[in-house]
Symmetry: C2
Subunit: 354 residues, 2 copies
């Protein structure tokens, strides 16, 4: 069972994943990414379902069998979970230190049966089904009283921490409210107390008026480069309707979310030649109905530069591309060219390597 340990100075929690334990020689190649697996051995490809733990849910063709082919989105437990679903939450002191067993959930959302089809180039309808799978898993895990927060995220490309090339997202549920989430909630609350307005709604207003950092817009969402972007081409997708939780999304909003997510990923793909990236959904903690304080959104961080000693020691990121410049480049992308290039090189960053 993994364990959670707390830094006695900052109060930040760390997962010690003893089951994944590595010896020094496992690191000495200095290339943290594992090799791309070929299709026959890919545990996420149709017909290889037995290579994964039994599925939690799937969108399937009528008549197809659980843990067999015939699905178009499939959710499974992570084979090497960062946090384990079994058992009660135990807490203890270890001398001056604070300890907790690693109770939680860690799931994988396989986004398509097609090994080489990047999320950016899936049909909007298929992207929407991936988002519905996110929501279904979110709502199911929210019932578990041990879990305080559910993070949905995507690592794309080896440089961004993906170890398998087949398109997938992940979900981790934690027994604590993570520090980054607590800081965002607290900041949004502080702004609300001071101004009696939502900070995200204010951003929506200023970005839509100024347009300098705007990348795309549809009826329900904007995509923009944040004013204080931490890295080149950091991009946020923000719903126009104020809602604390991603799970509160309405059907017509989900369609708009899928459309702007696909479009934004395609713009990044063309502009930056299929960059590695991480995306996260920022949403309120489970069972928080403070609809006034928070406003859910998705942030995409391309991995183009390295955070080093300065960033680690200060938390201040150095961004070499002003967000206004990045937005201009992204707006200029020819999306028809994107459609073509996507057919050819949807997972280029997986095979291209570092």
């Amino acid at each position: 069972m993994p364990e959670l340990r707390r830094d006695p100075i900052t109060g930040e929690w760390v997962v010690i994943a003893s089951e994944r334990s590595k010896r020094p020689s496992d690191f000495t190649a200095h290339s943290p990414g594992r090799e791309e697996q070929d299709r026959e051995k890919c545990p996420f490809c149709p017909s290889n379902e037995s290579m994964t733990p039994p599925e939690i849910m799937a969108f399937r063709q009528p008549g197809s069998q659980r843990n067999g082919p015939g699905w178009w989105v499939r959710v499974i437990p992570n084979k090497y979970p960062a946090l384990g679903i079994e058992g009660d939450l135990n807490k203890a002191g270890q001398g001056m230190y604070d300890w907790m067993n690693g109770v939680g959930a860690h799931e994988v959302i396989i986004e398509t049966p097609q090994h080489d089809k990047s999320l950016a180039f899936l049909d909007t309808r298929q992207i929407e089904d991936v988002l519905w799978a996110y929501r279904a898993r979110y709502l199911d895990l929210k019932k578990d009283a041990r879990l305080k927060y559910i993070l949905i995220f995507r690592n794309y490309g080896r440089v961004a921490g993906a170890s398998l090339g087949h398109p997938h997202s992940q979900l981790v549920a934690t027994p604590i409210i993570p520090g980054v989430v607590a800081a965002e909630l607290q900041g949004a609350r502080r702004y609300m107390e001071y101004r009696d307005r939502c900070v995200f709604c204010d951003m929506l207003r200023q970005e839509t008026e100024e347009k300098r950092r705007l990348v795309a817009e549809n009826e329900h969402f904007i995509a923009f480069e944040p004013y204080a972007a931490k890295c080149p081409f950091e991009t946020w997708l923000l719903p126009k309707r104020h809602a604390a939780s991603f799970a509160a999304i309405a059907a017509e909003e989900q369609t708009g979310f899928a459309a702007i997510l696909g479009e934004t990923l395609r713009r990044l793909h063309v502009c930056l030649n299929d960059p590695p990236y991480n995306y996260n959904i920022h949403t309120a903690p489970c069972n928080t109905d403070d609809q006034e304080d928070f406003h859910w959104h998705l942030s995409i961080s391309p991995r183009l530069t390295i955070a080093a000693g300065f960033e680690m020691g200060t938390g201040i990121y150095i961004n070499v591309t002003p967000p206004e410049t990045a937005a201009e480049y992204l707006r200029e992308v020819d999306l028809e060219a994107a459609a073509l290039s996507g057919e050819e090189s949807g997972v280029a960053s997986e095979s291209g390597g570092e």
Copy 2:
């Protein structure tokens, strides 16, 4: 002039380094590290002093000329500074956002004239002079009332963000107290208020008694793996005497600091085959004499795994090597073998690449 922008939600500052501005095509190789330069073109090698901005200070042979050879430690302004030393600090709003011009300092400490000699394998006396140079620059910049914090750090290896192979450290002075620093100060203060003891002194006591996470010890310092290590083989050097600021170090402590820094880096070098790493000195902000609250130290983070979407979205790091295991491996290292291997491969990670 670089600018500082504040995230309106979390309050975190970001440096937008417009002078370093990059176009999309600059990123598309997806290999953030630049190439190693050969010795003739290395701006940090003796006789190439004219390739750098004029030196700020140097330890030199008697009779040698400023900005010429004859030095053994040399400090210069960074040619591409993250923050600029000129001008007054200006602050302004930009709609809902907060802005500041990027006033500060960014210096490079060249640790040795020898291009291929890693810090780990310098004589203790030479390491000590590097540390004296750190302190001299710290004390000089501390006089500048515009500067609130001074971070001294080292990026080693391309994966850890180093762009030049010649051994060097860096110093960045900021016009604000960085978020990571504020969180550490606040945490140490909270612990002190609650227990009336220093959290670092308590760690020193528990680690010295338990010994499970201890890596090395001398009269003035311990080296240990922290209980809640964020990454495999994270190692801290903690002075035994409580002091808030690195600058308060006494002469005999500096010798002990140099000795344990060298020993720890050699243990990491042998154990992990010359890993890339970052180290930072955690010290109190300039002009803070709260000697009771903080306790300076140095943290070393080998770059062996990739922080991805989960870490970005939660701030919770997943560490696959328990610190007790890492400490055991590091204690077992044969330092005589280290001395030999260091002669041969002091900068292996530079040429080895990702």
